[in-house]
């Protein structure tokens, strides 16, 4: 088989003209598909030019950003704290549950193969369900606000990180487990002394990643009504106070970038100080 997958002509190599024809055909196919889809969707790319003035008008209304909001509206700081708290608790609770369930979902620690499939299926289902559906149900159960959003984030974390943690557990070296079991330890002790130490670095790293993801999700859920900065933002949009909107967007950017740095720092110092018991 030739390097390109095309049949080798007598030349011994596929000539550039043939390669060119093949490449062009593929690109033409993709472009045709996209154009067809665009036409079907009524997607008008030229709107970018014809309606550009709308974007300019919006930008005009947003600038200059109402940065004064930061010191006039002190409730903002509570919103920020709310968003961070949502992400933090959601990650913590969800991560813990995910960690526990991961043991059921991992090939090498599951009490029963059926349970493993159920767990994995559960994770997949959760990941596939749109975030806001879970949120809406939780709103009915717990009312609007950060409580429901936090639980929604926790559930979302279980879906996402249950899979990651289970994969990490499946990839450990069985050697230490056998060693610990051979001295007569029960399954929980094996987990405590052989599995957890191996899996902990990956869990911690994923935990920080989860927090990053949940920070963004917390803002998105806030827009749907979950509270925090996201809620403030969509509120500002509803009342058409666009300078406030821009100020809040900048706040969001600062918040997320800041949180990223902070969590990076904490993660690195944790790794260094080696608090992995």
């Amino acid at each position: 088989m030739s390097a390109t997958g095309l049949p080798l002509p007598a030349l011994g190599y596929v000539p550039p003209s043939a390669m060119f024809r093949r490449r062009t055909a593929i690109i033409a196919g993709v472009v045709a598909f996209i154009t067809a889809a665009g036409v079907y969707l009524n997607f008008k790319p030229w709107m970018l030019f014809t309606d550009f003035h709308h974007l300019v008008r919006l930008a005009d209304e947003m600038v200059p950003p109402n940065v004064a909001l930061l010191w006039t509206k002190t409730a903002l700081y509570q919103s920020v704290a709310e968003t961070v708290a949502m992400a933090f608790l959601g990650t913590l609770v969800g991560g813990t549950v995910a960690f526990a369930l991961a043991f059921v979902a991992a090939k090498n620690t599951t009490p029963h193969p059926w349970l493993r499939h159920v767990a994995r299926l559960g994770f997949g289902l959760e990941r596939a369900t749109p975030n806001f559906v879970v949120l809406l149900i939780l709103f009915i159960a717990f009312g609007f606000g950060p409580y429901a959003a936090m639980i929604a984030l926790a559930i979302g974390s279980v879906g996402m990180f249950g899979k990651l943690f289970a994969d990490a557990i499946e990839q450990i070296d069985p050697g230490p487990c056998e060693a610990v079991a051979s001295v007569g330890a029960n399954p929980f002790q094996v987990i405590r002394y052989a599995v957890i130490p191996q899996v902990l670095p990956s869990v911690v790293a994923n935990g920080f990643y989860a927090f990053d993801v949940n920070m963004r999700a917390a803002i998105a859920l806030g827009v749907y009504g979950g509270g925090g900065i996201g809620f403030e933002l969509q509120l500002a949009m509803k009342v058409l106070r666009y300078p406030d909107v821009l100020a809040l967007i900048l706040l969001v950017i600062v918040l997320i970038t800041g949180m990223e740095r902070v969590s990076d720092l904490i993660r690195r110092s944790l790794l260094r100080s080696d608090t992995l018991k």
Partner: protein
Amino acid sequence: MLNVEQLTKKLPDGRALLDGISFRVSRGEFVGVLGASGAGKSLTLRCILGLTRADGGTATLQANDGQTFELTTCKGRCQREARRRMGVIFQGFNLVKRLRVIDNVMIGRLAQIHPLRSWLYGFTDAEAAEALEALRRVKMEKYADRTTGSLSGGEMQRVAIARAVFQKPSLYLADEPIASLDPSNSLAIMKLLQPLAKETPVLGVFHQPEMTARFCTRVIAIKHGKIVYDGNPGLSHAQLEDIYGDELMQVLRPAPAALTPEDVSAVSPFSGRIDESTGGLLAKQTT
């Protein structure tokens, strides 16, 4: 033809890495540059190529088509035109592993086609046929359609030479072309370079005096950034000692380095490729 005069390169603290390097390379010559590690041989080559900027001196290339290029001051368009007329072979082969062998050869003429053309349809079938001829010269024509990453070191270096040949340059530059190869492949590469030199001059940096003694028409030796020898390729032991100092033992009788997978496969009963010429156990030459 290449004329290098008073090439200088200094470190920020004032020490000279290259101190007044001057030499000529003319038609028909196969010039080997020798020197201890850090003496400045690769640096000279890099300054000629413009990969590093020299602090002083000139390097003039007189191309076969009559044009002259001042390599140390050339920039942008001029530098590309100059590089087009120089075929370079690197120690690490440095080919694009995911492309086919024949594509890597055709890259040699990139400077000779318009960028727009290279984006739109690339090379023509006629150019591909010429590239195959270049591969024939290095006896790699059967590998034309293979992915370059699947080749061994010696094979890749031959493709690199084919690329340089395809370029139809006025000068070949080789930066330690055989340093990463085992002795039998090194020999094959030198045997390829020697006839090339007869039509187009070759300036090569080497770390193997026995190779330059055997294949080069002239040898230049650099020590501490200065040229200390320029002449006959056969160097006496005393002269080599002077050039290499403590490294001499390493250079003449290389210590067996860690075996690479290629070394192992050469002696493994499963590959069927046992190299008799070196007694069965290959030791890679290290720089």
